[in-house]
Symmetry: C2
Subunit: 87 residues, 2 copies
């Protein structure tokens, strides 16, 4: 069953200390070609029936994102989206 | 410039209390057709040069995901991916 994915990211003008902490750690790993890292939330919503993008947008607006500092996007993800899972 | 997005989610067998808290709050919003909510992290990595998926996978493996409880996927996102930003 397809799911709705809500991606919540800090607005570009908002400082992202977590992302900067990761970016600062990269040189120690020998990684020098990364210019920026930003960290946000990915929320997967499974509906009992057909996935409802409008409903997901309403949920994101009210529960998942802080409109003052965050933007969010809503999209439909097919159940078999290649999740190149690595563990 | 295209970016690499790393999506980190808890493995399916791992309990997701945050996701359940959101799912439990939905009926109060009048939402009754959601069967599950799972919350993970979305990390956007910007490279100075060409985006490097292999490098991003290495970063995810070492810094971004806990292989014991999390899976991650790595994908290239074009700069102009429609970010239906809502704020």
């Amino acid at each position: 069953m397809p799911r709705v994915v809500v991606d919540v990211m800090l607005k570009p003008e908002i400082l992202d200390p977590q992302g900067q902490a990761v970016a600062n750690a990269l040189p120690r790993m020998g990684v020098s070609d990364v210019s920026a890292v930003r960290i946000g939330r990915r929320i997967e919503i499974e509906f009992t029936g057909e996935p409802d993008l409008e409903r997901a947008r309403e949920i994101a607006d009210k529960l998942l994102a802080n409109p003052v500092i965050e933007d969010f996007t809503v999209r439909l993800v097919k159940a078999d989206e290649p999740t190149e899972a690595h563990s």
